[in-house]
Symmetry: C2
Subunit: 439 residues, 2 copies
């Protein structure tokens, strides 16, 4: 929808006419998938609050929006798409923004292909509504198993804890895969402090069931009874309808548009169905985040309508929070992980400090992992875990990565200091300085 609106804006500015048709198989548009865990937790009162623009608002802006319409095929030569009911829709330009539905592993499914009762993913507003209904219907002390320890897994664990449920988080690795081990441990510790069980290295092998209902989860090495099972193991690009069209795709089906969203003549793509370009190592990576979708969509819409806006890649920034009772941890990362920098000679270090000057009553611990290239001194990656005010510090590191700056830049640059906000030498700068001193 970002692309659609921007295309209309740019066209209008240059006096061009554009007819924009949007086909979507879902029932809602422009909703915040990231907000669903907070809706599940009770922080957000209604699913409607998560809708940035309703279908009516899109239509009022001049977009021919058709919901509940699934595209099942595309003929890029004839320039038509075919919908599930056999309708053929012609186009001048095709924008693929088909997103990435949640992956549902085989073990979650009954023989008929539907999920067992009590089992579900967290992706659409309908998923969120189903979870709220399941939470409401569940007994006090119900046992929730969350499969997947990524962002969604941690956020949903928080939501389930808020409802007073018993929570077990199963994660294949040592915790959140996008974090270094030292930082993963802090997240695991926070989950445990708040009363969740965290099982590391758990590869789920199957469910226990009674009739249509789930009653437990089994993995190599253990099992737990479960009344509800949240499947949060990732998403996969919805690009099957392009199979056989000759369009180049990544192994998982993701598209690789240029900064303007262009894939081929008359073919465009942006959003969760695409990989994005990471500036630091010029790698294509699959990061289905709303912030990239919005930016790339806007660049696409502008370019399609004759403009020149570009989405010049990303530096792999992301953030979340885990909060329950007295436990509060902000978690963020940007840049490469040590695994992603395995070809480089790097120096990295975790620095501990406080979010404000230590003598202020609101001071909370913060830990910052910084990695730099030993040869070029270039900053490569930063991760943060800590109390209130910790997480958004990642933006400062992201800005340095965006500019291709060095660890010395981050150490010495002019970051804001006053006692309620930082130590005299901002802890992010101290963390960078300590790495710089070891190069």
């Amino acid at each position: 929808m970002s692309a659609a609106h921007q295309a209309l804006r740019t066209a209008r500015r240059s006096g061009r006419e554009l007819a924009v048709t949007v086909l979507d198989k879902g029932t809602h548009t422009s909703y915040s998938a990231c907000g669903i865990p907070y809706w599940m937790a009770g922080d957000v009162a209604s699913g409607d609050d998560l809708v940035a623009r309703t279908a009516d608002q899109h239509r009022a802006a001049g977009i021919d929006l058709r919901l509940g319409v699934e595209v099942v095929g595309a003929d890029l030569v004839a320039r038509t798409v075919t919908t599930a009911d056999g309708t053929v829709v012609e186009y001048d330009d095709l924008v693929v923004a088909s997103g990435a539905p949640a992956v549902v592993p085989g073990w979650a499914l009954r023989p008929d292909g539907s999920a067992y009762d009590g089992v579900g993913v967290v992706k659409t507003l309908d998923d969120g509504a189903a979870w709220l209904e399941r939470f409401r219907a569940a007994d006090e002390g119900a046992r929730v198993v969350v499969v997947g320890g990524g962002y969604v897994g941690v956020e949903v664990a928080e939501a389930a804890l808020r409802h007073g449920f018993g929570v077990t988080v199963l994660t294949r690795g040592r915790g959140m895969s996008m974090l270094e081990d030292e930082m993963k441990e802090r997240v695991n510790a926070a989950l445990r402090d708040a009363g969740a069980e965290v099982v590391l290295g758990a590869e789920v092998t199957g469910l226990d069931t009674e009739g249509d209902r789930v009653t437990g989860v089994r993995w190599d090495g253990g099992s737990r009874p479960a009344d509800l099972v949240v499947v949060a193991v990732g998403v996969r690009p919805a690009t099957e309808f392009l199979a056989g069209s000759g369009v180049e795709m990544a192994d998982n089906g993701a598209l690789r548009p240029d900064p303007h969203g262009r894939i081929a003549e008359h073919l465009w793509a942006a959003g969760d169905c695409c990989e994005v370009r990471r500036r630091i190592d010029d790698a294509w990576v699959f990061r289905p985040l709303g912030t990239y979708a919005t930016k790339h969509g806007r660049a696409l819409g502008d370019s399609l309508a004759g403009g020149s806006l570009a989405f010049d890649g990303m530096v792999d920034t992301s953030i979340t929070r885990f909060a329950h009772g007295d436990t509060y941890l902000e978690i963020a990362r940007t840049g490469l992980s040590s695994a992603e920098a395995s070809d480089l000679d790097v120096v990295s270090l975790v620095t501990e400090g406080t979010t404000t000057t230590g003598y202020m009553p609101e001071a909370e611990p913060i830990a910052i992992w910084v990695m730099a290239d030993r040869t070029t001194r270039r900053l490569l990656g930063v991760q943060v875990a800590g109390g209130r005010g910790a997480g958004k510090r990642i933006d400062t590191a992201a800005a340095v990565l965006w500019a291709g700056g060095t660890v010395d830049d981050l150490a010495w640059m002019d970051l804001a200091y006053a006692p309620p906000f930082s130590s005299t030498w901002e802890v992010l700068g101290v963390a960078a300085r300590r790495v710089a001193e070891r190069i």
Copy 2:
């Protein structure tokens, strides 16, 4: 003290011997002057909490620290300094880190040169202790007039309000001079919401007194009764002892050392007695902030002992907070003001948004002023005023300024998004994008 310690560290690393003597006319070292208003407010329990390193700790590190020793003259050829009691101290290298005491205007002083009872500045730990004593002794409902609407003025107003005093803030201009008018107004509104009176355009002309005590403050256009008067009209470099030495100084007496703290052979300086170099316009500006002092001191100490660390200037970042009762406002700035950019063709705009996604319960308003160069698209300045999480966003803008980036960089760079932290397109990026669209 940063310079002293770093010099010893660097010397030790290269096997050199250094004898470091520190002469200070005060009674404390290494304390956080910025913390004094929070001590006055009751956020910090004791003045000792503000002391980063005690005299004993400095001495244990091998520094010959002599407190209560005022230097009154220097002979840069003979390489000696003279103290108030006539002692002549020889040196190989002289480091001037004499700071900048608070300015006390003539109207605050009795004929004998001491301040009237009830009148004081906020700079040293002794000042802080005196204020706490005055606050303790004051009647409930005492009237406090704060002269000066800068950072210290606003922070002290907060402290006085917390004690239940009636507070009037007098400011010469339209509010905090380091902010644009649109942002000044937000600070003034917050002060007023919290119960303070704010008088703009008030140039103090004198005090009303009874015996040795202040009873009121007069300015061109008004007057108020006052039991206590906080003088927060700025500071001035303590470099009088270098008068006649031939050292180049700014009009206010500030020194201008190079990035290594070097002024001339065997003469070094850093800290509040110096101006600093602003990278954006390569201007010398007087910004007596602890964060610059610490960095410049460290670079100085390292360079003096044979190292090469440099303080490569600043981008004019600063931050504070005003909090009382339900009123809470974080205020920050970086880069140039519109007045400082008057030679350039600029575009600027205030954007309003929220600190988190709008649907989250913790969302608070934020206003961001962004200024860019119309010709080069270079980012020139950013100012922020808003709720929790607003202020430290300035660091991201500071990082762009540090790198000489454009408003497009700030608009499109990869800033962290999750609902508890920002809107999908981070508000700082939206503010930059709106300016970019107007170029």
